[in-house]
Symmetry: C2
Subunit: 223 residues, 2 copies
C-alpha cells in the first residue's frame, strides 16, 4: 500500500470562498490536472466507486486522491490499498464540509505536475458540501438506490451543483422501491441539465460509461 | 389526511443553545410529553420507520410529529397521510440542522397539553444535527444496512449523542456486506452505552421491540 498521509485542516472563516475556488481551478488548469469533486450521503458507495474507477484509469493516467473525513483514515487507506495510487487524508476538525481555502492548503502538500486526475472524496453529507465551491472543475453526486428517488426534491442544492449524477447500487434495484422514471422527473425539476449514469460499483455494471465520462473531462483539460 | 402546517424557522445565531435546550426539555416535561429526536443519513428510512411506529402507538397514546426539511413537505405529508396524526413541517432555510431555539419557536405552534409523544424527524445528515441539542429527552439514530458497518468510526459524534441506535433495512442484509459483529465493535469504541434495536420498517421485523422502548420512555415522563 502506498503511504497515506494525514493532514489536519480547519476552516478559515475570513476566506473569500469564491475567489479562492477560482484560484484553485486556475492552479489545477495550469498543471493540466482535471480536478473532480465527488459528493454523496454517507454510505452511498463513494469509496467503492472510486476504487473501481481508479483501477480502470490508473494504467492510462496519473491519479492523486484526497479524502475528507472528520477523524478516521478508513477511506484514504482503502483507496490506497486497493488501487496503489497515492492518497491524502484530510481531517477537517469535525466540520460538515470542505471549502476552497482548505482545499488550497491541502494542495500545498501535493506536487500536481504530471497528475492528470485529482479526485476529492468529499465528506458524506447532502447539505453542506453543496454550499462550498471547492475549486473543482466538475462535481459528481452519487445517489444510491436504497436512498430513494425523492432525494432531488429534498436536497435540491446538491443536485443543482452536480454536473453528473451517478446512480449507484443498481444491482439492488429489485429490493427497493426506487422508481427510475420518478427520479428523473424529480431531477428534472431541480437540474434539467444534469447528466445521469447508472452503475453498480459492486458488479461493475455501467462503470465503463463513467470511465469514458472522466476520460473525456481529462482530455478537455489537456487541450 | 390531517392538515399539515408548514412554518419557516431560521437560525438565531445569538441563541444560547444549551440553555434553550434545557428550557425546551422542561417545557415538555411540565406537559408530561416525551420528546424524541430521530436522526439519520438521507435515505435511511426515518419516515417509513416513523409511520410504522406511530401506527402501532396511536391507539394508546396521543402523538404529534414535526418534520425538518430544507424546502419540501414530502415527509410531513407522508406521515400525516399514512398515520392520521397531526404533523408540522419546519422549513429551516437551507440549514443542515435544527437547534433548540428553532425548536422552541416551532413549539409555539403546538398545544402540548394531552400530547404523550412529540417526535422530531430531523434533517437527513450524520454531521451537523449531532452538534445541536434540540431539547429532546432521547435521541434515536437510524443506520440502514446499505450504509455499511463502518459508520460509527466515520461519524462518531452522531453515534455518541444517540441513546438508541436503530439498525434498519435488515431485510436486505443478504445483499450488502454489513458485518453485524464488526458494527457492534465499531459502536463499542465510540459509545459503549448505546442500546441497539434491529428492524425492518418495511417488513415489520423488530418493530415491536422499538414500540416497547418508546412506550417505556413515555411512561418514565408520566411518573
Amino acid at each position: 500500500m502506498p503511504e497515506v498521509r494525514v493532514i489536519e485542516i480547519h476552516e478559515n472563516i475570513f476566506a473569500d470562498n469564491e475567489r479562492t475556488a477560482q484560484q484553485v481551478r486556475k492552479y489545477c488548469s495550469d498543471n493540466k490536472t482535471f480536478f473532480l469533486n465527488v459528493m454523496s450521503a454517507p454510505g452511498s458507495g463513494k469509496t467503492t466507486m472510486l476504487v473501481e474507477l481508479i483501477n480502470r484509469l490508473k494504467d492510462t493516467c496519473s491519479i492523486f486522491e484526497m479524502d475528507v473525513d472528520i477523524c478516521s483514515t478508513l477511506d484514504a487507506k482503502r483507496v490506497a490499498d486497493l488501487t496503489g495510487v497515492p492518497s491524502l487524508q484530510i481531517h477537517n476538525g469535525g466540520l460538515c464540509h470542505i471549502d476552497a481555502d482548505m482545499m488550497q492548503r491541502a494542495l500545498q502538500q501535493v506536487d500536481l505536475s504530471g497528475i492528470d486526475l485529482l479526485i476529492l472524496e468529499n465528506i458524506g453529507n447532502l447539505v453542506c458540501p453543496a454550499e462550498f465551491d471547492t475549486g473543482a472543475m466538475k462535481n459528481i453526486m452519487l445517489l444510491s438506490v436504497p436512498e430513494g428517488h425523492d432525494k432531488p426534491l429534498k436536497y435540491p442544492l446538491m443536485f443543482q451543483v452536480a454536473d453528473l449524477i451517478v446512480v449507484n447500487k443498481i444491482d439492488t434495484m429489485a429490493y427497493f422501491d426506487f422508481d427510475v422514471n420518478q427520479f428523473k422527473k424529480n431531477l428534472q425539476t431541480v437540474n434539467p441539465n444534469a447528466e445521469v449514469i447508472s452503475i453498480s460499483a459492486k458488479t461493475g455494471e455501467g462503470m465503463e460509461k463513467l470511465v469514458r465520462w472522466v476520460e473525456n473531462e481529462i482530455q478537455k483539460v489537456k487541450k
